[in-house]
C-alpha cells in the first residue's frame, strides 16, 4: 500500500488558507483518494498563525501529522515557513509565498523580522520554491487571489489533473470570482516548469 501523504498549509489568519486546503481536499477526493483535513477553529481573531493539515492516500487513519512527516509545506507567509520545521521530512518540498506580514512584536519594534529565511530553508536541504504570490495577485487585480496562486503551485506536486482543480474551484467559489481564481490557479501552475 502506498503510504499516506502529508501536506501542511500555514500562514496568517485572513489569507484564505482554509479555502485553499478545502479546494485541494476536494480535488484529491475527486481523483479517488481518501482525505482527512485537520484544522482548529475557535479563536475568531484575525492575525494569528493559522495551520491546516491535509493527509491523502488509499486509507487515511490519523488526521494528525506527526513530527518529521510533512511532504509538502505550503506557507502563505515568509516567516511562517520556519515555524513548523520539526514537522517537515528531511526531503520535504516547501512552497513559500515571499510576502511578509509583521507579527505584533515586530510591528511594535520589540523584535526584528528575521532575514535570510529562504537560505535557512535551503541550507537544511529542503526543496524550496519561493513564489511572489502577492505581486501576482496585485497584477490580477485581486489581492485575495493569493490562496489560489498557492494552490496552483501546489498542484504541480500532486497526482491530480489541473482540470479537476478547476472544476472544484467552480464548485467552491462564488460565480463572479470564478475567472480571477482560475486565472490565479493557472498563474501559480505556470511558475513551476
Amino acid at each position: 500500500m502506498e503510504r499516506t501523504n502529508n501536506i501542511l498549509f500555514c500562514g496568517v489568519g485572513g489569507q484564505g488558507i482554509l479555502l485553499a486546503s478545502e479546494v485541494t481536499s476536494h480535488a484529491l477526493i475527486e481523483a479517488g483518494y481518501d482525505v482527512k483535513k485537520s484544522e482548529v477553529h475557535g479563536m475568531a481573531q484575525r492575525g494569528g498563525a493559522v495551520e491546516a493539515f491535509l493527509r491523502y492516500g488509499e486509507r487515511v487513519y490519523s488526521p494528525l501529522v506527526g513530527l518529521g512527516s510533512v511532504d509538502i509545506e505550503v506557507s502563505f507567509e515568509l516567516l511562517e515557513s520556519l515555524r513548523y520545521l520539526p514537522y517537515l521530512r528531511k526531503d520535504a518540498t516547501v512552497v513559500v509565498n515571499t510576502q511578509r506580514i509583521s507579527p505584533a512584536t515586530v510591528a511594535t519594534g520589540l523584535e526584528n523580522y528575521p532575514e535570510g529565511i529562504l537560505d535557512e530553508l535551503k541550507s537544511r536541504g529542503l526543496k524550496v520554491y519561493p513564489v511572489d504570490a502577492f505581486s501576482i495577485a496585485q497584477e490580477l487585480g485581486e489581492v485575495r487571489a493569493v490562496n489560489m496562486i498557492m494552490v496552483g503551485v501546489l498542484s504541480r506536486f500532486l497526482p491530480v489533473e489541473a482540470d479537476l482543480f478547476i472544476d472544484v474551484i467552480k464548485q467552491r467559489v462564488k460565480k463572479r470570482f470564478h475567472e480571477v481564481n482560475i486565472e490565479a490557479f493557472n498563474r501559480g501552475r505556470e511558475i513551476i516548469e
Partner: protein, 609 residues
C-alpha cells in the same frame, strides 16, 4: 422534487465531525436541537439549524439546552443537546436525573472535549460523566463514524430508555473526512403528552424505584456491549494488542498497522468478556487513550494486566509521534525548531473591548475576568485581567473579593463579562451582589454578538440562530429590574468619557453596572460600514509610544537612527508610529490617546489640499 435523479456523486460529502453529527441527527429525524456555543462543539447546532424540519435554538446556557431537549424527549420526539466539555458541567444537574427518568423520544447529549486546550480553560475528560451518571457513551473516531454513531445513539436511547452520551474531541469535531448520505430512519415513538408520573416525577419515592431500574438498564447495556457492532476486534500480530477508542484508535492504526486492536465504540459500559478474551489472546496489552486512564482503570479493576499511563501522557492530545515515542521508544531525527517571533491572537484593530481594557490598565484595577474574546485583555500590553475561571465566574469572584476585604476593596475591584456570558450565568451572581448589599461594579461588554465562537446571536442581539428577529433583551432594563440602581451605558471608543464613568461607579458604595455597548468589528454590518481612516503625520510624531500602549495590531513602530532624529529636531527620538491602513478599522482610539495631535483623519493632514 423534480430533480430526483440519483446522482451517486452528490451522496459523497466532505464533512467535519460536527457536520456529520448534525447529518446523523437529521437522518434520525431529530425534531428539537438545543445548544450553547462552545469550541469545539459549536458547528453541530449551526449545521442542524440549516436542515428543514428541525427546530434548532441557541439556549442561554447548557443546562437550559439539556432541559429543553429532555422536555422534547418527554413529549415523544427525538432531541439533541450539544455542548463543549465544560458545558456539561453546567448541564450536569439535569443530566444525572435524566438518567433516572429515561426518555420517550431518543435523547442524545453531545460532549465535545478539548484535550489540548486549543480553546478552553481546562481539559477535563468527560468520559467520567458516563461512569458517574451511569449512562452509555459512544465515542466516534472520524466523521463517517460520527454520523453512524449518532444514528445508533438515537436507536439505543429509545431501545434502552436512556439518554445517550456521544463524546467527541477537537480532532474528531474539527477534522473533515468523507461521509456518505444515507436514507433517514425515523423514530416509532408517537409525539404526545403522556402522564407517567412514576417515570417523570422524581420525588424520592419514585426516584428510588427508578434507581433500581437504572441498575437493571446498566446490566442490560453491559450485555449489549459484548456483541454491540461498534465494539470490534481487528486481529493482527498477537504479540502486541491495543485496547483503544475514538481518535486514539486512528493514531494506533497509523503507528502499529500490524497489531491486534480492540476498538471500543462504546466506552461505557465496557464489554468485560470481550476484553478478557482479547487480553488472553495477546502477549502484551496496551491501553491507548487521551487524558485520564478511564478504560485502563476499569480494565485493571477486572484484574487484567496491561500497560497504559506509565507510558502514554495523561494530558494533551496524542498524535502518531507521541505514540511512537511512548511505546516504541523511538527518537526521531528531526529539524530543530528555530526561534522566531510568535504570532499570538490579539484583539482586532477597532475592537470595542480595547478601550475598556486600556482604561482598566490606566486605573490599575484588579479585574475579575470571564470567558470570551475579551480574555485577551489579560495579554500585554493591556494586561488588565487578573482572574479567569469559567463562564460567569467574574461577578461572583469580584464579589467574593469585596466580602473578603471589605471597604478596602472599594474602588479597586471590578468584574468584566461579555453580553452572552452575562446571560449564560452572570445574572445570578449580580443578584447575589444586590441581595447581599454589595458594592462591586460590573462592566458588561456588549458587542452585540457571541464573538469568540464565531459570531452566534444571543438573547441580547434580538436574533435567533436562524436569523429571525425576536425580542431583544435590554440589559439596562434587566439590571434595573433585579435591583441595580446605577446602570450606565458607555461607548468604549470614547475613552475619556468612559474613564470618567468607571471612576465614578467604582467609588460608589452600592452595586453598579456599566454597559460598554459597541458592535464587534467582525460583524457583517460593521464590515460593510464605511469607516474613517486614521493616519499619523510622521513629522508630528514624537515617538512617545502612547498609542502603542493600546496594543492595536494596526499601529506599527518604525525605528530611526540618530541622524534622522536630529533632522526631525528631536535628538532623543528612537522612532515613530505608523498606521497600517490595510488593517485600521477607524475606531479613533489612537487619535484620542495621542497628546501631540499627530494622529488625524485622512484628509486632515493637509496633504490632499
Amino acid at each position: 422534487m423534480k430533480k430526483k435523479k440519483k446522482k451517486k456523486k452528490s451522496e459523497r460529502l466532505f464533512l467535519s465531525g460536527n457536520e456529520a453529527i448534525a447529518l446523523g441527527a437529521y437522518e434520525s429525524g431529530v425534531k428539537v436541537a438545543s445548544a450553547y456555543p462552545g469550541t469545539p462543539s459549536t458547528e453541530i447546532l449551526e449545521s442542524l439549524s440549516r436542515y428543514e424540519g428541525v427546530y434548532a435554538e441557541w439556549a442561554p446556557n447548557e443546562k437550559v439546552a439539556l432541559e429543553v431537549a429532555l422536555g422534547a424527549s418527554f413529549a415523544g420526539v427525538r432531541a439533541i443537546a450539544s455542548m463543549k466539555h465544560v458545558g456539561l458541567n453546567v448541564a450536569a444537574d439535569p443530566l444525572f436525573t435524566a438518567a433516572y427518568t429515561g426518555v420517550r423520544g431518543g435523547l442524545v447529549v453531545v460532549t465535545a472535549d478539548d484535550p489540548e486546550m486549543h480553546s478552553s480553560q481546562n481539559s477535563q475528560d468527560n468520559r467520567n460523566y458516563a461512569l458517574a451518571a451511569k449512562l452509555p457513551m459512544l465515542e466516534p473516531a472520524e466523521p463517517s463514524e460520527a454520523k453512524y454513531f449518532t444514528r445508533l445513539a438515537f436507536q439505543l436511547s429509545e431501545e434502552f430508555d436512556t439518554p445517550v452520551l456521544l463524546r467527541t474531541t477537537t480532532r474528531v469535531s474539527h477534522v473533515k473526512g468523507i461521509v456518505y448520505k444515507e436514507r433517514r430512519r425515523l423514530s416509532k415513538v408517537k409525539p404526545d403528552l403522556v402522564k407517567i408520573p412514576e417515570k417523570f416525577v422524581m420525588l424520592p419515592v419514585n426516584a428510588r424505584k427508578r434507581r433500581v431500574e437504572l441498575e437493571k438498564r446498566l446490566q442490560r447495556l453491559r450485555e449489549l456491549a459484548e456483541t454491540f457492532e461498534v465494539n470490534t476486534i481487528e486481529w493482527g500480530d498477537r504479540s502486541i494488542g491495543f485496547i483503544t477508542s475514538g481518535i486514539s484508535y486512528l493514531h494506533v492504526k497509523e503507528v502499529f498497522p500490524e497489531a491486534s486492536v480492540l476498538k471500543l465504540g462504546m466506552v461505557y459500559p465496557l464489554p468485560e468478556k470481550m476484553i478478557r478474551n482479547f487480553a488472553e489472546a495477546v502477549d502484551e496489552l496496551y491501553i491507548v487513550e487521551e487524558l485520564d486512564p478511564f478504560i485502563e482503570t476499569l480494565v485493571k479493576a477486572m484484574g487484567i494486566e496491561c500497560k497504559g499511563k506509565e507510558l502514554i501522557p495523561s494530558y494533551g492530545e496524542l498524535n502518531p509521534s507521541v505514540l511512537r515515542k511512548a511505546i516504541k521508544g523511538e527518537e526521531e531525527d528531526l529539524f530543530e525548531p528555530v526561534k522566531i517571533p510568535l504570532r499570538p491572537p490579539s484583539m482586532c484593530p477597532g475592537c470595542p473591548h480595547r478601550g475598556i481594557f486600556y482604561n482598566l490598565s490606566r486605573l490599575k484595577l484588579f479585574v475579575a475576568g470571564d470567558i470570551g474574546c475579551y480574555t485577551l485583555g489579560a495579554l500585554k500590553p493591556l494586561s488588565s485581567m487578573d482572574t479567569c475561571v469559567c463562564m460567569g465566574a467574574s461577578i461572583g469572584n469580584a464579589f467574593g473579593m469585596e466580602k473578603a476585604l471589605g471597604k478596602k476593596a472599594l474602588g479597586k475591584v471590578v468584574a468584566v463579562i461579555g453580553d452572552s456570558t452575562f446571560i449564560h450565568s452572570g445574572i445570578t451572581s449580580l443578584i447575589d451582589i444586590v441581595y447581599n448589599k454589595g458594592f462591586t461594579t460590573v462592566i458588561i461588554l456588549d458587542n452585540r454578538t457571541t464573538a469568540m465562537t464565531g459570531h452566534q446571536p444571543n438573547p441580547v442581539t434580538g436574533f435567533t440562530v436562524c436569523g429571525e428577529s425576536t425580542i431583544e433583551i435590554d440589559l439596562e432594563t434587566l439590571c434595573r429590574a433585579i435591583g441595580v440602581k446605577n446602570v450606565r451605558t458607555v461607548n468604549p471608543h470614547q475613552i475619556e468619557e468612559t474613564l470618567k464613568v468607571i471612576r465614578e461607579e467604582i467609588k460608589r458604595p452600592e452595586p453598579s453596572v456599566i454597559i460598554s455597548k459597541y458592535p464587534c468589528v467582525l460583524l457583517p454590518e460593521e464590515r460593510k460600514r464605511e469607516k474613517p481612516l486614521y493616519i499619523i503625520i510622521d513629522k508630528e510624531c514624537t515617538g512617545c509610544r502612547a498609542c502603542l500602549r493600546l496594543g492595536c495590531p494596526a499601529i506599527e513602530w518604525v525605528m530611526i537612527d540618530k541622524k534622522e532624529a536630529k533632522k526631525r529636531g528631536r535628538e532623543k527620538q528612537k522612532g515613530y508610529a505608523r498606521i497600517n491602513t490595510v488593517l485600521c478599522n477607524g475606531c479613533g482610539e489612537c487619535e484620542i490617546v495621542c497628546k501631540f495631535d499627530a494622529i488625524v483623519l485622512e484628509g486632515d493632514d493637509g496633504k490632499d489640499e
